[in-house]
Symmetry: C2
Subunit: 286 residues, 2 copies
Amino acid sequence: MKIGYLGPEASFTHHAVKSVFTNEEYIAFPTIPDCLEALAEGKVDRAVVPLENALEGSVPITIDYLFHDVDLHITAELISPIEQHLMVHPDNVDKWQEVTKIMSHSHALAQCHKYLYYRFRGIDLEPSTSTSAAAKYVSEHKEENVAAIGNSLAADTYGLKIVEENIHDFHFNHTRFVVLTSEKESELLSFEQDAEKSTLMVTLPSDDRPGALHQVLSAFSWRQLSLSKIESRPLKTGLGNYFFIIDVEKPVDGVLMQGAIEELEALGCTVKVLGSYRKHLLEPQK
Amino acid sequence: MKIGYLGPEASFTHHAVKSVFTNEEYIAFPTIPDCLEALAEGKVDRAVVPLENALEGSVPITIDYLFHDVDLHITAELISPIEQHLMVHPDNVDKWQEVTKIMSHSHALAQCHKYLYYRFRGIDLEPSTSTSAAAKYVSEHKEENVAAIGNSLAADTYGLKIVEENIHDFHFNHTRFVVLTSEKESELLSFEQDAEKSTLMVTLPSDDRPGALHQVLSAFSWRQLSLSKIESRPLKTGLGNYFFIIDVEKPVDGVLMQGAIEELEALGCTVKVLGSYRKHLLEPQK
């Protein structure tokens, strides 16, 4: 089976993929749309991309692309602990406290905001396209004495030395990755256990009368269908127009869920079912 | 009066500030937290930062910083049309179709995703810290034949030539900026007109029983208080824990709003009122 993932090599997504798919072919893609398009076009059998981080929130490009551009289905979610470390070229280990610049993905820089503020105030922070791209740059520019922030897989892959561990500001830092398929029904993988939950994308009626969202939530509430998440994203038709991503703690094929979805549609809502799937918790790296 | 804003010079925020504050002292800050901290510490009298874009959604760092780190109040919102243009160094106008790299803020690159995909597929896209930082780089590296994406103020400021106008993928692209003060009651400015609305930040009770959000919305719904926005953001205490940003189309001092807020608090919710304020629509640049 071919597994597409958000690269480059040594990314957090790569780590998640390696944790659950063994003896499969991994293919890295440079962006989330590239990875999702490859699945839609049948070039890979599964795609794995980040959906949400416990600190930074949802990954907008994943949600927007799944809503607007492709018709794909979530078949599993992978919850991975995220640990950010400060790393330098091995030749610069003795002078890491005098680094001239710190590079990482903007989310990783944000996750270490307080550490960087108190420890490296005034030092140039340079956003990179990924944490592992930052590690790669550091490995190739030892004369610059720059540091990268990233995971231990990136340090291993690019031969860097971790000089300070776990520099992220908040504990409980996890990222949700989703495993996507192009077909609604697909073979269950060995790690797909736990109770099923569902993710729906709901658009309110176009007349958008006040209280419509309350009505949507009522349809779930009186049936005692628990929502574990509700989030709005812009419809891109103008400020103030949103669709909603709703996670419900039940599979979509039950009588109550079917009833709720049918009633929402009868009320003029559009409901896109992203999938019913199982959660899988990953171990921390090393 | 000193007005702090998210810089650098020629940013979209700068444009918004110049549109409503005349004859005041403008001070640019490199990051949103720097700008908000300056206001909290009394170094400026107002701070202006972006809160939400019609395509990209909320600006997470603004919302999170207002929730977690400072006690500031919204006194007005500025709605500004956002137009993205492709610009090059004047010496490279004849060969702009062969640019080797296109630079801009990651949000601007995302807003022009389809244009770039169809027109410049495979060309290196480099994220910069702001659209105007990208324009500045292009003005200083004419030998590289690189292009920047940004607004016309950036083209003017850095002497670049716009070679393709309005390359953003979706029309109706606006950004909401908020004008913040450190005091709850502050003098109204001449542009603060229109009907008042309110922004609340609501945290559900810590036992977080299913349906609590539905209950919160009911408190507004049966009072016919219209919500123009509801959005969740991570509490940063673990995946699945959120607070909610709710915009209500009424000022916070009315009887019904006071009743709703008091009842939510009695139910165990925490309600932080970010302010009751007026909307101001800005003209497009030029």
